[in-house]
Symmetry: C2
Subunit: 116 residues, 2 copies
């Protein structure tokens, strides 16, 4: 702190006067929390790991139900949350929907934690 | 995939037989989701950003209430969640409690997203 006199330790009476400027803005915090919330579920993390490991970086919805031992509606619900959060891309081809990671999305979410 | 014959594309009839092995284990997914859940709240992200920017990498609880415009019980509730998740360290000194980041914890949470 020696080189930043404006942020020198404040007297007890005004301990809170300067701290607000360090906080992440409310809108930025909201945006980051929204993505992290989509990631904060074990089944969704497992779905992402399967998609990431899939051939060509994608997975058919038919590959996603059995490994998680969940019903199709539950898997679809989790996949929709991941698509809505901008983490997964969905493409319908023939009978099945195929899911792939949105390029850079996991890296951005990861950075949103370290770059607080 | 050419170098990993065991993971070669499966025929449609057994499309799900191999995909399970790619998934994060349930216990690992649960552990990661727990930490990410603690991070998936805008007020908690803002609290962490203030602590991170604090003098000596710590912040007095008296610095954390005003910038967020929340009551003391709400701030304490959020801080407890961050401590319980292993993200914040709490130390009582005199009248006030002081919070600091647990070294490496944000980096580990960040990596838990990219290393799926």
């Amino acid at each position: 702190m020696e080189t930043l006199p404006l942020l020198a330790p404040a007297a007890e009476s005004d301990c809170c006067a300067l701290s607000g400027r360090a906080a992440l803005s409310p809108s930025e915090a909201q945006a980051r929390a929204r993505i992290l919330k989509a990631l904060s579920d074990p089944n969704r993390l497992r779905l992402l790991s399967i998609v990431k490991a899939g051939d060509g970086g994608e997975a058919c919805v038919c590959d996603l139900t059995e490994p998680l031992d969940l019903g199709q509606p539950t898997v679809s619900h989790h996949l929709k949350i991941l698509v809505d959060a901008g983490l997964l891309h969905r493409e319908k081809r023939g009978t099945w929907a195929y899911y792939s990671l949105v390029p850079g999305a996991l890296e951005a979410a990861s950075e949103s934690i370290t770059a607080l």
